[in-house]
Every structure is written in structure tokens, then in C-alpha cells.
Symmetry: C2
Subunit: 429 residues, 2 copies
């Protein structure tokens, strides 16, 4: 039996969850890995705050040096954000400690450099909890897709926005109403920007794509669109066309070492797509490999226990599994919005205006757009277009006499046009 000393940085939801999970799972972990993890110190900001967990008080300190001196081989970083988390993680690695973190912003912005630093000091840095909560997606890519080239990733990576969109679609409620209620219940932050404007999903996509495409991306380069402008009317019309609207993170590589296109934006998925039924706070990642085909992983994307689970699984694996080697290269980044493909176009009508879907369809066709399907309701008209590029926005506005605020367009993902998916069998027997 090995005894491993652990230093915890931060004792909020994640830190507290890790502490409790290490206790409740101690026997299982010991039996299966012959390792006993002992929390030897906990770094907090306010030493005097009352802690509900028994036995914790003697471990609490506000001094990072004391954590490093408490006989620890691993630091669990559960502070969040970039500073001071980054400084502590660097110092831990330099001191020869392994690091496990749930910090997506840190790993998206400084992951490459931190992994280099870890390698230099012959320690590991693991961060499964930073993407998809309890879903072992980084482990799957790092260990079970070694012989596959990942060609495309499509993910629902933010639970708060998925929860809001799910409730808007079910109840016909507005974004503002659902957000306000979610905030009241503590399901969304007082400042919801990180979630609803897509920053959180962008961080996670940057991490995923580093592993999937072995390429470096800076978060500023990733297209980012949030969900604030989505209306229940839009959701309803999309549904009548056979689609659901999700905040999707998508990454695609065109050929090995080829250019990469990355983006986070509200997108349509055909109802038959494996991600279409992922509701509420669930997260999911759809991976396409060149041999395996598609694999989808679904699970709880956040919350104390799923996140703590991922951190503690990482802890167990620090001393069991090798670090996935990442020979990173620089790939050309294509702007995600320009990728073409089919498109959902939603036109909000003016107060009292009567929808004239057929007339609008003819107008769109006259300017060269191919309309695959159209539906309308009191508040608006929605189209599925076979092809689209961003330059069409101004053409549509001008030719149809609309204001820019009246139209929204969304990419259609997951197999392009909605069609009855045939069950396939390829050499099954």
C-alpha cells in the first residue's frame, strides 16, 4: 500500500466534494489501486470561515508554502479562474508535485505551457474534470482513440445553457424568464456571461481540440456566440422542422494536420441525432474517428459529485496510467462561420404582421437561396436553406426589406439536412 499526501487548493463546491469523495471512496480506491490518498492541507482565502465538514479545521491554511511543506505529492487545484490558480499550479509542478485540476479556463489558456512544465519536472498534470464533469472524455481521447484520427467533435459542453434551452423549449418561456428563475434557484450565476455568452464552452472546446487534433488554439480564435437572442418562437419553429436548437461546440479537422474549424454557437440538430435528446444539465460529446465511426459520451456536466468523481478518478490514475503524449502542431484555423453547409433562417415578424411563408420563400429563391423547408407561426417564419454563407445576411435584409434585428441564422449540424435516418448495418455478422 502506498500513502499519497494530497494538498487541496480551494474548499468550495469542487474542493469540498473532492475531500468528501476521497473519504467515502477510500476503501474502494485502496482495494483497486493499493493507494491511500490523505489530504494533508487545504488552502483557503478566509481561515476563519466556518466549515461544516468534520476534521477539516486543522488542515486549513492561507499560506501556500505551508501546503507544499505538508508532505504532499499531489496538488488538487480547485480555485478556478486563472490567477492565482496558475501561479500555484506552476509552483506545485516546479516543486515536483503532480497536479489535478478541474479548471477549464486555466487549462484552455495555459494548458500547453503547464503540460510542458510538468514534463520538464517529470510529473503529470491531469484535468478530466475540466470538460464534461463526470464524463471521461479526455481519458477516452487520450487512451482509447490512439489508433484513430479524430475527424470531428460535436459537444454540448455547458449545462446551464442546456438547462435554459431545455426549459425554454418545453415551456415556451423566454430566455429572460428562465434565466431569472435559474439565478434565483442558484442554478445560474448572478453574472451569467461565462455560461450564456459561450465562454465556458469555448474553454472546454479549446481543451478538447488540443487532444483531438493535436493542435494549439488560443481561445480568442474560437468563434463564440451565446444564447441570449434565442426566442421560444425560434425553438418552436425549429422543432416543427424536425430539429432541436442546442448550444453546440464543434471542432472539425480537414485531413491529417489539415486546417481546423472551431466554434461555439446555437445550432440545429436533427431530432434523430445522438445529441438531440441530451436535456437539462446533461453534457455530451459526439466523437468521430476514422476507424471507429462515431462514439457518444453522455453524463452530468457539472455539480459537486460528478466533478469530484472526475478529480478523484484522475488522482487514482496519476499513479497507474502514463500521460498521453501530445506532439502538438500548429494548424491553420478556418473561421467556423464560413464553413458553408445548410442553415436555419428565422425571421421575426413585426408587430401585427401576417406571416407569408410562400411569398418569402419565393423572394429567397430569387436571390439564389435554395429553400428546403419552411414553417411559420404568429411571430415569425423559419426556413431550412441548403447552403449559406455569411454574405447572404445583408443581401437577405436588403432584398426582403427587413431590419438586421429581424433575422437570425444558425448552422445545421449533424448530417446536414434533416432526413429520416435509416438504420444502417455494415458487415454486422
Amino acid at each position: 500500500m502506498k500513502r499519497i499526501g494530497v494538498g487541496l487548493l480551494g474548499f468550495g463546491t469542487v474542493g469540498g466534494g473532492v475531500y468528501k469523495t476521497l473519504r467515502s471512496q477510500e476503501d474502494v480506491i485502496l482495494k483497486r489501486t493499493e493507494t491511500l490518498f490523505e489530504v494533508r492541507s487545504i488552502l483557503v482565502k478566509e481561515k476563519e470561515k466556518e466549515r461544516s465538514i468534520e476534521g477539516v479545521q486543522p488542515l486549513i491554511t492561507t499560506d501556500f508554502d505551508r501546503v507544499l511543506e505538508s508532505g504532499v505529492e499531489v496538488i488538487v487545484e480547485a480555485i478556478g479562474g486563472t490567477e492565482p490558480a496558475r501561479m500555484y499550479v506552476e509552483r506545485a509542478l516546479e516543486a515536483g508535485c503532480h497536479v489535478v485540476t478541474a479548471n477549464k479556463e486555466l487549462m484552455a489558456k495555459h494548458g500547453v505551457q503547464l503540460e510542458r512544465l510538468a514534463r520538464h519536472h517529470q510529473v503529470q498534470i491531469l484535468y478530466e474534470a475540466s470538460v464534461g464533469g463526470g464524463i471521461p472524455v479526455l481519458g477516452t481521447m487520450g487512451h482509447f482513440l490512439k489508433a484513430n484520427r479524430v475527424q470531428r467533435i460535436t459537444g454540448i459542453l455547458n449545462g446551464t445553457t442546456n438547462y435554459i434551452l431545455t426549459r425554454m423549449a418545453r415551456e415556451g418561456a423566454s430566455f429572460e424568464e428562465v434565466l431569472a428563475e435559474a439565478q434565483q434557484k442558484g442554478y445560474a450565476e448572478a453574472d451569467p456571461a461565462a455560461d450564456v455568452d459561450g465562454f465556458d464552452a469555448v474553454y472546454k472546446l479549446a481543451i478538447l481540440c488540443r487532444l483531438a487534433f493535436e493542435t494549439q488554439v488560443s481561445v480568442q480564435q474560437i468563434l463564440r456566440e451565446g444564447i441570449r437572442d434565442i426566442t421560444p418562437e425560434e425553438l418552436e419553429l425549429a422543432q416543427r422542422l424536425g430539429y432541436v436548437v442546442k448550444l453546440l461546440a464543434t471542432g472539425e479537422q480537414y485531413g491529417e494536420k489539415g486546417p481546423v474549424s472551431l466554434g461555439v454557437s446555437p445550432s440545429l440538430l436533427p431530432i434523430s441525432h445522438p445529441l438531440a435528446g441530451v436535456e437539462g444539465v446533461y453534457n455530451a460529446i459526439h466523437l468521430e474517428g476514422d476507424v471507429v465511426g462515431d462514439v457518444t459520451l453522455v453524463g452530468r456536466g457539472a455539480g459537486e459529485r460528478p466533478t469530484a468523481s472526475a478529480v478523484v478518478e484522475d488522482l487514482s490514475n496519476l499513479f497507474r496510467l502514463p500521460s498521453p503524449k501530445l506532439p502538438l502542431s500548429d494548424s491553420m484555423l478556418l473561421p467556423a462561420g464560413e464553413a458553408g453547409g445548410s442553415r436555419f433562417l428565422f425571421m421575426k415578424l413585426r408587430e401585427g404582421e401576417v406571416p407569408e411563408p410562400e411569398k418569402l420563400r419565393q423572394k429567397l429563391e430569387r436571390i439564389g437561396l435554395e429553400v428546403v423547408d419552411v414553417v411559420s407561426a404568429r411571430g415569425g417564419v423559419a426556413f431550412i436553406l441548403r447552403r449559406w454563407d455569411p454574405s447572404y445576411t445583408s443581401v437577405v435584409v436588403t432584398e426582403l426589406g427587413l431590419e438586421l434585428s429581424q433575422i437570425v441564422s444558425r448552422p445545421v449540424q449533424g448530417g446536414g439536412l434533416c432526413q429520416e435516418q435509416q438504420p444502417e448495418m455494415e458487415g454486422v455478422v
Copy 2:
């Protein structure tokens, strides 16, 4: 760079797929694992058969000893069935070779003994491809659920039956019609028993449960019911009640080291369940861990490429990852049918008989059954009952004046009674 000699046993769909995949992915595997896998010999039954793959002929042999003498460190077993596969695998392990196999029957029936033999000779035996095709479910359980106690597994583990049920539900076609067409197209075997009678799923469930519950089960102990008696009427009525019918493999453990209940049978899932939308040849596994909550893995369950992918991923991992340690114990096995819980009851009407759902409901309630919901169509009446045990079958038949062949009952899985699932948020922010 390491060079690893590989001996292939069998050169059918799986063996051929492995050979081709090792070639097409050679550069990726080399780059990521610094290992070059070279097929040095291929064991076949008929040496003279023509092979379409170039360069293969000089490797072909009908003599297993020649394979062992060809400088191999790994044997890939792709013959299927128990004999002679078992004998070859034993001899390979005894000769100090690692083994990778896609053989579910072999690993279900003799896996415990083969793993012991492997450990004794300090080699590994990996078999990811034996369950769920390209889905890395064994790897996930072996490496990413070390700190979790798995409490329940629910799986769609057989692609052929899922394909048949999907088509029956979509087209209202009978089992016989869809099966005949599937056989004609080569999607189902001439003798379909292994698939449609549930043997294949039982093998896979036995393997999964060994890993999940760390317990030995013999395949004979697992409840097994196939899909031959399912009618399109039954599927339609289930759907109208808010459920889908799937051939589900379920395993549940009641407390750590507690009794285990295992079964394969047609079962109902609420439409909102993560497995309900898994259609066609897709397989999926829903895992419930005590910390992580539920994780669902979905992918192609069979076919040349997904299976070859899993085998080649195993090959890469032989020299990278440690064997998961399995401290097996013997658990009490509960008969799966007796577990109680809610139940779907379908009554086929006699020719010309008019459905009288309300009258039947009253009769069922008079004998003590609580009817939650009822629907009827020309061919039959279907009920959701809150509780059921097998003894009710004969009571229902007697009291309602039916013949035994007129009633079918199925367990309702995945959260019991169908209800609008609320999106949950637990400490998300």
C-alpha cells in the same frame, strides 16, 4: 521505436479488418505510441482460399505452431466461438504472448480462468472488442471508474436485435418479415438464434458484470429472453404509453459485495431515457456509479471497422496501460425476473374481439394490481402496472379467462413509471 510481432488467428471480417487497420493507422500509432505492429503470421483453416488483400499470402498458415514460432509477442484471436479459440489462447498465454480477442463467448465462459492464466505468465489479455464493438466500455470501467462503485448497468448490447426492433417499430412490420429481409441482406445470420434469442447479449452482460461488480457469473445463471414473440402491435401500444421496447441487458448490485441481479429481456424504457433513442445497429451502455451519477456510452456495436478499431486500440494499450486488477468475489445471484418494479402487460385479443380496456382495468384492479395507464388498439390492450411479480401471470390468465399465449409482460426499466423528466440542477455553479 519498438517493433512488435503480431500473430493473427482467423482472417474473416474481424481478422481482415484488424490487418487493414494496422496498415492504414500505422503512422498514427507509431507517432503516438512509438510502436510498430507487424503481422508476422495469419492462421486460417483453408490455406488455398483466395485473399483479396495484397501481401497477405506469405503470412498464411494452417499450423498454430508456426504462428508461435514466427516471432510474435501478441496473438490476436479472431476466430470466434469457444473451440479451438480457447485452446489457442491458452497456448499463446502459456508461451508468454499477450492476447487480444473480440470473442465474447470465450471471454464470458472462460474469461476468469484465462485472465488468471495470463497473470500467472505475466502477460495481458484484453478484449474491448467483445462488448459494444467500438465503444470503449471495458476500458472506461477498468480505468475511469476506479473510485466509483458501479451500482447498475443497462445496455443495448446486440445490434441485430436493435435493428430488427427499430424497423418493426418504424414500419409496423412483423418480426418474421424484418428478420427474413435482414437475413437476405446479410444483416442477420442464417441461424439467428445467437442474436434473437439473447445469447449474444448474455455473453456481453456476463463480461460487463464481472468488471462492474467484480463478481463471477456463469452465463447459465443469467435470465435470458429473446425477441421472437414481440409484435408490432405491442411496440405501437408501448409507444402510445410513452415507452420504447428494447432488448435490454441489465445488471444491478444491491450494496457493495451484495447480491446481483442479471438479465437479458425485452424491456420498456421511457422515451426520455438516454438509451431510448439508440436505434438501428447502435449499441449503448448506461452506467450508474455512486459518485459520478450516470454515464452513457453510445456507438457502433459491430461491423468490421468498429470491431477492428477496438482490437487495434487494445493492441496499442498492451504496452501502455496496466491490466485492471480484478479482485473477484462470488456474489449471490438474484433471479432477475423477481426484482419487482413496474411492468408492462400486453393482452392480445382473439380474432374479432372488441377491446374493452376499462373493463379489463377493473378486473386487474379487482385481483390487486394497480393500473397506472392503459391503451388499446384493434389487436390488443396494454397496461402499465405499478407492481408485478411472476406469480401474477397465472392469476391474470385464470381471472380474465385468457390463454397463456395471449399475454406478454415486460419489465419497465430506467426510472420506473414514465413521467416527464424534470431537468435537474444540483450545485451546478
